[in-house]
């Protein structure tokens, strides 16, 4: 029983980070109707940026989050203006190829700049654990989970309570109607992409204390993000939270009780099943 609880809790904690990666992708898809194939590369970029800040300036990853957030929004906005906006009206395979290209450029520049060898940081809390009722919680993962919750609440507040959040939701629901209401949908898209990239980069920062980082790690997270968003419904930001938790728990339980070698396959199988049987996601109607 304790083992089961342990496996379950580990799955939930991991799922929290997956959710954060997935929410960004879902927000971008909801507002812009494009699938960001470079999403995982922005996670990798966040990891390397935090690594650099830690190694050269001694800034703790958790303290770097505000910086990474601002940097992520700025970078996302620039990428959107420079690469996505010009092709936004083109057929969807065009935006897929464009983001694949952006992802390749990022991962290869990282390879160029940091080399292919795995790197990690060691902080005083990297191996700290908390024990509650016989269940061991990884310190950094628990902190990540709390920060993820805070970030999600913050995003929810921005989307529902602020003018720019309403503009983004309006753009997601109906672009033409939003424009008729005087909303600058171009700015809404730029910000949505910026926020999505920032969410990905922050997840990278949160993962740095517990993971090795290599320049090609982005592909893994792109796939995870796809699974999360499809489980939760493409464009459904709240659904992505559920999707992330389901993915984390499925992987954790599957790896513990079925086969650890197929850890990554469980999520993909669930992904295919949902794609074919319930394309709108597990939680019904799409909603940003």
């Amino acid at each position: 029983m304790t083992t089961f609880l342990q496996v379950l809790m580990t799955g939930i904690l991991t799922g929290g980070v997956y959710a954060l990666v997935g929410i960004g992708l879902s927000l971008i898809f909801g507002v812009m109707r494009i699938v960001n194939f470079a999403h995982g590369e922005f996670v990798a970029l966040g990891m390397y940026a935090s690594l650099l800040l830690f190694q050269s300036l001694g800034i703790d990853p958790y303290l770097a989050i505000p910086l990474i957030t601002v940097g992520g929004i700025a970078l996302g906005a620039v990428v959107e203006r420079g690469f996505i906006a010009p092709i936004i009206a083109a057929p969807e395979h065009v935006s897929i190829l464009m983001t694949v290209g952006v992802g390749l450029v990022i991962s290869n520049l990282l390879l160029f700049g940091f080399g292919a060898h795995p790197q990690s940081i060691f902080t005083w809390y990297s191996t700290k654990t908390v024990r509650v009722a016989g269940v061991t919680f990884s310190g950094p993962l628990s902190v990540s989970f709390l920060i993820t919750l805070a970030v999600i609440l913050g995003l929810y507040w921005v989307l529902t309570r602020t003018e720019i959040g309403r503009a983004m939701r309006a753009t997601a629901q109906n672009r033409d109607a939003a424009e008729l209401q005087g909303i600058n949908t171009g700015v809404a898209r730029m910000l949505a992409f910026g926020i999505g990239v920032a969410l990905a980069a922050v997840s990278g920062t949160l993962l740095l204390p517990v993971l090795y980082v290599i320049p090609t790690i982005g592909g893994v997270f792109t796939l995870k993000a796809f699974v999360v968003t499809v489980l939760g419904g493409m464009g459904n930001v709240l659904g992505a939270i559920g999707g992330g938790l389901i993915l984390g728990v499925t992987e954790s339980l599957g790896a513990a009780y079925i086969s650890s070698g197929y850890r990554d396959a469980f999520g993909l199988i669930a992904f295919l099943a949902v794609l074919l049987l319930r394309p709108a996601g597990l939680f019904g109607k799409s909603r940003v």
Partner: protein, 328 residues
Amino acid sequence: MRDRLKTLAWLGAVLVAFTLYPWAFPTKLNLGVVIVLFAGMATAWDVLGGWAGQLSLGHAALVGIGGYTLALLSLRAGVPPWWGLLAGMALTGAVAAVWGWIVFRLRGPYFVLSTIAVAEILRLVAINWKDLTGGAEGLFLRELPRPFGLDLFNRTVEFYLVLAYLGVALLVAWWLSWSRFGYSLQAIREDQDSAMAMGINPTRTKILAFMVSAALTAMGGSLYAIYLSFFEPHIVLDIGLSVELALIAYIGGAGTVFGPTIGAVVLLAAGDLFRNYFQQANLLIYGILIILVVRFAPEGMVGGWHALVRRLVRPAPGVPVEVRGERP
């Protein structure tokens, strides 16, 4: 009809030009085999991705099935490679029929995502089913029979083998450029609903295209297995390979007879040229080129070239030369 024969003549010329490669660059035979092989596989990808417009990022699965079928039949049952190659083609054709039947109800990004998922699941199976596939350590083709006394591990022999394969792939692409089937695929690509209204069954046509594309890709995968002689899931089943095939075809010119071949020559030669500067980062050029192509020449190098020629040869639009004389 004249266009058709002209393309066929070009096709012959391209193949003849390639036959000279081993004499021209005897020290670069490895690169030559890879260029021609990838040209063939990208042409095979293009049957589905370009002509039918169904972007697939899972074709590595088909390369892998082709390669593994040949290698496993040879290692475990002593089946000669040519039968292994045909078995691999038949198997991938069947796999594509089922795979297509399942995923072609999805459109757009959902279809692309499903191809990635299926290919990734296959890669995980290949890594974990150690008894069958040798797992992550891979397989080693130690020896192969010698048909007509030809050593299949000799690079020159391999070069002409993959050239024959490229010939087959190009003939299929050429057939698509004028046949009814080819036009059905293009109709589906341009507008699936209108194609349906014209009496084309989109699902059946797409499945057929997938089967052709899959069997051709598997043929390349079998030859790739012989060329590598030692291969592992990380090489032949990786999503990186899927992306590479798609980008080669797209940068060269998707849905054209020679586009994928041009893409393979340019990208792989450039990759070889810059290898010393960029080391492992040689996919950088793929990224930069696909961004440029998508942004400025959506029809690839072939389309971009045609547009350039048109602009240079014909007067600029907006100056209707002929009309001017007719006005009173």
